[in-house]
Symmetry: C2
Subunit: 235 residues, 2 copies
Amino acid sequence: MEHSPKALFFDVFGTLVDWRTSIARETESILKPLGHSLDWLEFADAWRGEYQPAMEEIRSGRLPFCRLDVLHRHNLERILPRFGVPRLSEETLRNLNLAWHRLDAWPDVPPGMAALKRKFWLAPVSNGNISLMVDLARRNTIPWDAILGSEIAGDFKPKPRVYLSACEAFGLAPGECMMVAAHSNDLAHAASNGLRTGHIARPNEHGPGMGETAPKVPVDVAASSLEDLARKLGA
Amino acid sequence: MEHSPKALFFDVFGTLVDWRTSIARETESILKPLGHSLDWLEFADAWRGEYQPAMEEIRSGRLPFCRLDVLHRHNLERILPRFGVPRLSEETLRNLNLAWHRLDAWPDVPPGMAALKRKFWLAPVSNGNISLMVDLARRNTIPWDAILGSEIAGDFKPKPRVYLSACEAFGLAPGECMMVAAHSNDLAHAASNGLRTGHIARPNEHGPGMGETAPKVPVDVAASSLEDLARKLGA
């Protein structure tokens, strides 16, 4: 790259946190004591499977913007009957929904972020809402400078507004910002809005061997971890 | 208080940072080498004096929302002729305007924030824009969980939307949030929107002996410093 970016924007679900095994663990810890026995990983996949269709209702303008916590709750109530789980108490539903606030980061994230913080402004540009991002950051020691992304933009990725509002909030041109993600689709949209791009390999996001090991689109940097990204960006 | 708040929201200019002596120092360091000799503290007071009238144009709906950086620049160009400073280069004007990004915190702020961080979610609810808040946080080691306030709300304090949008972003009821400020006016508006209130004495904000030593309105906690506030809130 000609010169270094000033800010790094991060996708969160899949790129920084292992949502699949975390959701499986959290749902098991809540539902098993209530006597339910499901395939917990399959349940996690089903819940996540409702994610894009739910956001598409908003991206398309058919529904007004709402926080991802609200969509997660809606999606949870859609899939529970499919797994034969009958009516749960409001308290249990609320606690289950907060499973998304208790996801664990991949092991390279805390040391990688600490290194990157010394050289770059850091913010999530995620479809998650602000309070969800704060819970994940506190749990996983992620030193964000600000929380940007969908709740600031009032829309969901990959709508251009989400990437561009993040650059504007930092007072930077898109070319001074790098989107970092384990998803080529996210990076392709960031690049088409003028941002630089960094790919992180997450080969096990959707299960063993079921994630992107390399970018499927041209990127500025491809890294095997955040620590590798820090090295490659001279941080 | 019946039970502890979950989040603390902070006013920044005056409450956390000493804008007056910092602006005087920064403007002197830029304008003196160019041959200008002003009363630098008076210049700081004049620049700050344009702050409320400029925001009032937006709060009243006469002008659309814009970031505080933009208002500061506008205000700077209004006052320079008053001090007999002729046309400056674009580079000098831009650098002068960034003086607001180089303000120093009062000495109790870094240790007080570190203590408060262990027990509370922390965010600025300031009229400053996000990039300005990030620069001040990095300079003064303030560990924000998120940057809330005017740029999120699209309006300026003391409009209710600014306080309420901050509570919403954290997914909290107003009564679970405490506004912390050295200005009774800010606290009165926060309280009227249902937030709790914490007053910090800043007796020298506007010069020696020219600041609030005690709240002029009823508050939940009155403290002499952030370290004192941390003690009083059991952090």
